[in-house]
Symmetry: C2
Subunit: 220 residues, 2 copies
């Protein structure tokens, strides 16, 4: 039986404004799949660290990659507890009172453990990460050779538990504040891409890559 929901534990339970919390996989995975940039934290000797990095998802597994010499990856590969978050900012929420100002957002927080990936899964993980960033690019570019694979480390992250937190909709002010002569509403945030800029170092004139055209189009 495949569980569709993460168990609520002390670790993942959304405590502040619990109605914004969600524990079901489709909600959490949709937030993950709408981006390719996450922030990862871990601790070493009591010191917390955060690094922004790319990721990819296949079913219940996440992949990250980097240099074989990466400090983050070499610490995470021992399986220590880690946390990964993906955050989408959708709007500034301007209320009548400063107190009720907020943001509309969708964030997913993953608690898990990483382990090193080798062999065929390693190449597949690189494909998954690349395609999560820019679909179609894997088939356009030169694939990694043996030396490059050796210089690259890939980790898979097993999800122990997770939660999402989402705010949508207009501001919510105190009843009496609706009589104040103050404009309230949303300032929506846009995320998108501009027209691709060819590398000035191109020796051979090439049409713009289809993956780049599609990426820009998707957000227009």
């Amino acid at each position: 039986m495949e569980d569709k929901t993460f168990n609520k534990t002390k670790l993942n339970t959304v405590k502040r404004i619990p109605k914004r919390g969600s524990y079901d996989k489709p909600t959490i995975y949709t937030i993950l799949d709408s981006h390719y940039l996450c922030h990862i934290s871990w601790e070493d000797a009591g010191q917390p660290y955060i690094i922004p990095t790319a990721f990819g998802r296949v079913e219940d597994k996440l992949y990250i990659h980097g240099s074989s010499k990466s400090r983050m990856l070499s610490m995470l590969m021992d399986g220590r507890p880690m946390c990964l978050v993906v955050t989408h900012l959708d709007a500034l929420v301007l209320a009548r009172s400063v107190f009720h100002h907020s943001m509309n957002y969708r964030s997913a927080v993953i608690y898990g453990h990483a382990q090193k990936v080798e062999g065929e899964e390693k190449m597949e993980a690189l494909r998954v990460i690349t395609e999560q960033i820019i679909p179609g690019r894997w088939d356009e570019a030169r694939l990694p050779n043996a030396i490059e694979m050796k210089a690259t480390m890939v980790l898979s992250i097993e999800i122990d538990t997770a939660s999402a937190k989402i705010r949508t909709g207009p501001p919510s002010d105190d009843t009496q504040d609706y009589d104040l002569p103050i404009w309230a509403g949303l300032v929506p945030v846009i995320h998108g891409y501009e027209d691709p800029i060819p590398d000035p170092g191109m020796k051979i004139s090439q049409p713009v890559a289809q993956s780049a055209i599609e990426k820009v189009k998707k957000y227009q």
Copy 2:
């Protein structure tokens, strides 16, 4: 004497691709000031956590805020080591080889300690955070009353050390790959705001707030 540079220590030294690292305050503070959303990590009993949250900066001090009941704030206020990162994604970097794909970005990582803010500084910190998110809004909205101030916790973060990491420019491929018939270049990322959406709950018709108009204009 005011130091303009953070000391390079084991903690903040950029190890992977050191030429992308920077330790001077103007560079780091410009990255901080270009945003209002950060990710904060801390650890409790060996478990790392991350939360996205708003922040504001005044000179060498950062402010964050939240509910008086916030789990994050109540943990951080004991002064445990914490890490705060601000990340700007500027472009996808499409190289000829998968291996040299990258992103153009500017990130600032702050290592510090938090403490609770009270009294006049608390109200000023809330102004700083609000103005970092949307300049001009503090003077338009109803300011916090005593009950709201009590329900709000503000922490100041003293920066122990920090670093920035920046990538700019076109892809950088292996020499022989420049002869491949593969398009390479940048797909620039846009961040911006769309026209403000008035709260449907407005009782009194109001012109759109000047702060919202300016926010949208700045990114057009």
